[in-house]
């Protein structure tokens, strides 16, 4: 009797120890990956089984940077999409010709400019802390229809929103990443806050009658930097340019696919529906198609080359081979590197390499009376869409 009790107790205690070790292992499984700063992890599994996980960190210049972003379609394999992604510069040009500001390198989206988020700004979500302050919100929201086909086939989905806010000279930037259940990534910068800059010529701004001043118009160039590391090998990504070119009689469109061999600066051409996708050289879906993400641009109406003749404003996108010192799209300070993204494009091979996709997203603001004050949020966004990530719709 005594022995059996002791044996049982010993067995129970052994289980406790094993459970404790297991708990340690499970609770820290993600943080222990050396890809994340300790504790800076976000993961979400939707009811369908689709899931996202990623790391985050705050840098003085870029603010919140995401890394090691993985997507797992429902009932499918979890795979990496992005090695790192963030804003690499915001250039503000004023309509009256005042000096350009480079917000990421001259002021920084992180540090004291990164705003503390109140719980009310993250309702239903979870706030994440950096240097003792709540600066990042993670929240899951309903996202409407994923698909619908008559009344018998329909599904509504959810998304994971991850956002922060930075205040620079009274203007405020909400930087938001949305990770949808179907694998889509929406990237958005929301401009709000106060527009304090004034000018003397109404041709360069808008008369704000209640404040008896002319608010200056301005253009923000958001330079997003996406280091794609699709699947487990980050050195074998391929960029393809795909166009659907109208025939002379404009009755048909012919698809033209081209692998980008060397670093490239280019722009969108809505007439032939040009876009780019980043695909893995070896990993395929169950139908033997290379898994990839395509860049979906939604900003044709706002894209412009800016006021100056700067080389880095001449193109919408830049595709480069990964180089750790190529960090800021403009005012890049590091040695042995170009000073801006146009100089990063210097002929390196990007066919089956570790590639970085830079996107210049443009937004012109001509202030309105309603913007005073504060200004309503103006969103500028684009999408990264899975293409052939799965062989069929997994939801």
């Amino acid at each position: 009797m005594k022995n059996s009790i002791i044996k049982s107790s010993f067995a129970f205690c052994s289980i406790l120890v094993v459970v404790a070790l297991s708990l340690t292992s499970v609770a820290q499984a993600r943080p222990n990956t050396t890809s994340c700063p300790t504790g800076n992890t976000i993961s979400k599994t939707f009811s369908s089984g689709a899931a996202w996980d990623m790391c985050w960190e705050v840098r003085d210049a870029e603010g919140v940077v995401l890394s090691d972003v993985h997507y797992k379609p429902a009932n499918k394999t979890r795979r990496r999409v992005l090695g790192e992604a963030g804003l690499s510069q915001i250039q503000t040009e004023y309509d009256d010709g005042s000096a350009s500001e480079f917000l990421v390198t001259q002021f920084g989206l992180g540090g004291n400019n990164l705003q503390t988020l109140a719980p009310s700004m993250c309702e239903g979500g979870q706030l994440h802390t950096n240097a003792g302050r709540d600066v990042l919100c993670e929240v899951t929201k309903a996202n409407g229809y994923i698909y619908r086909y008559r009344n018998s086939t329909r599904r509504q989905g959810s998304k994971l929103d991850v956002f922060s806010a930075s205040n620079i000279n009274a203007r405020e930037f909400i930087i938001k990443w949305s990770f949808l259940e179907n694998g889509t990534i929406e990237v958005a910068s929301g401009l709000t806050g106060q527009f304090n800059k004034t000018t003397t010529n109404e041709a360069n701004g808008w008369q704000v009658t209640t404040q008896n001043r002319i608010a200056t118009g301005f253009t923000d160039h958001y330079f997003w930097r996406m280091d794609f590391d699709i699947a487990s090998d980050n050195d074998n990504d391929i960029i393809e340019q795909i166009k659907s070119v109208p025939s002379a009689d404009r009755l048909t469109k012919t698809k033209q696919t081209q692998t980008i061999s060397n670093e490239l600066a280019d722009s969108f051409t809505p007439a032939d529906k040009k876009f780019w996708r980043i695909k893995d050289q070896s990993v395929t879906n169950a139908a033997n198609q290379a898994i990839s993400y395509e860049m979906v641009m939604l900003n044709y109406a706002q894209q412009s080359k800016g006021n100056s003749d700067s080389d880095w404003l001449k193109n919408d996108v830049y595709m480069t081979q990964y180089n750790a010192c190529e960090r800021f799209a403009v005012q890049n300070p590091t040695n042995n590197c170009g000073e801006n993204v146009s100089q990063f494009v210097n002929g390196q091979n990007i066919n089956a390499k570790d590639v970085v996709f830079w996107y210049r997203l443009v937004h012109h603001t001509l202030p309105r009376d309603e913007d005073f004050a504060p200004a309503g949020v103006q969103w500028s966004h684009f999408i990264m869409l899975p293409r052939d990530w799965t062989s069929t719709n997994s939801l």
């Binding site: 129970f12 205690c13 009256d96 000073e339 570790d354």
Partner: protein
């Protein structure tokens, strides 16, 4: 007897639970040393600063003694974790950026925090990182130490507030590095050096968030106000 045994068993369970908790704590502790993605600790920041800037400048990195900046002619601008894709998980490295005012050069050093060695150090001209708090304070002192400049700013304050500026502490001031090439054809001769020299453009605004329509440019390398531009 059974009671006694039960007590012993309970004790064993308590001990085991304690052991399990201790084991979890130990496991967590054993995993606590920083890996290459973790932010720099205060000690690591100090080490990086000492190795690259020397004890005097490193110590200044944590105070706001504006006068000492001009004595030493160097300013620690930024220390951050070095990003290196695929680096060993236990590698701890820092990038240190120091501005050398005497030569108007940015010194960028890569420091190995595991071995306390400077791996390499390079100089570059024309690259201007954000201003430190000390540089902002110094720029403010230069502007308001210039009698003509101060009078102009007091007039501007009076114009936009209908009040007298009794104390510059009543002003909010932000500043950013200024490059002459960001304002082509509008900079004067004195400001043309900005970019090679380290310059600050000041944005001044009242406690009520009314912005001054004039914005001084200060050449921190030369210690003078070079121009006022509209803001």
């Amino acid at each position: 007897m059974i009671v006694k045994n039960s007590f012993s068993v309970s004790g064993l369970i308590v001990q085991s639970v304690s052991f399990a908790i201790a084991l979890m704590t130990f496991t967590a502790y054993a995993q606590s040393p920083s890996h290459n993605m973790d932010p720099l600790s205060f000690d690591e920041l100090s080490t990086a600063s000492l190795l690259t800037a020397g004890p005097r400048l490193a110590a200044r990195g944590v105070n706001t003694d504006v006068s000492s900046l001009t004595n030493n002619n160097r300013e620690v601008l930024l220390i951050e974790r070095n990003e290196e894709k695929g680096a060993p998980s236990d590698q701890r490295r820092a990038d240190v950026f120091i501005y050398d005012y005497s030569r108007n050069e940015l010194i960028q050093s890569l420091v190995d925090l595991n071995t306390s060695e400077v791996i390499r150090s390079e100089r570059k001209q024309g690259v201007q990182l954000p201003l430190t708090d000390k540089e902002l304070i110094r720029a403010k002192h230069i502007v308001f130490g210039d009698e003509e400049e101060r009078a102009i700013l007091e007039d501007e304050f009076r114009r936009i507030t209908s009040r007298e500026l009794s104390d510059i502490a009543d002003l909010n001031i932000k500043a950013f590095t200024f490059h002459a090439d960001s304002l082509p054809n509008r900079v004067n001769e004195a400001s043309k050096q900005c970019g090679i020299h380290r310059c600050a453009q000041l944005m001044l605004y009242t406690q009520e968030n009314v912005v001054f329509e004039i914005s001084p440019i200060v050449n921190l390398s030369a210690g003078v106000v070079t121009q006022r531009i509209g803001f």
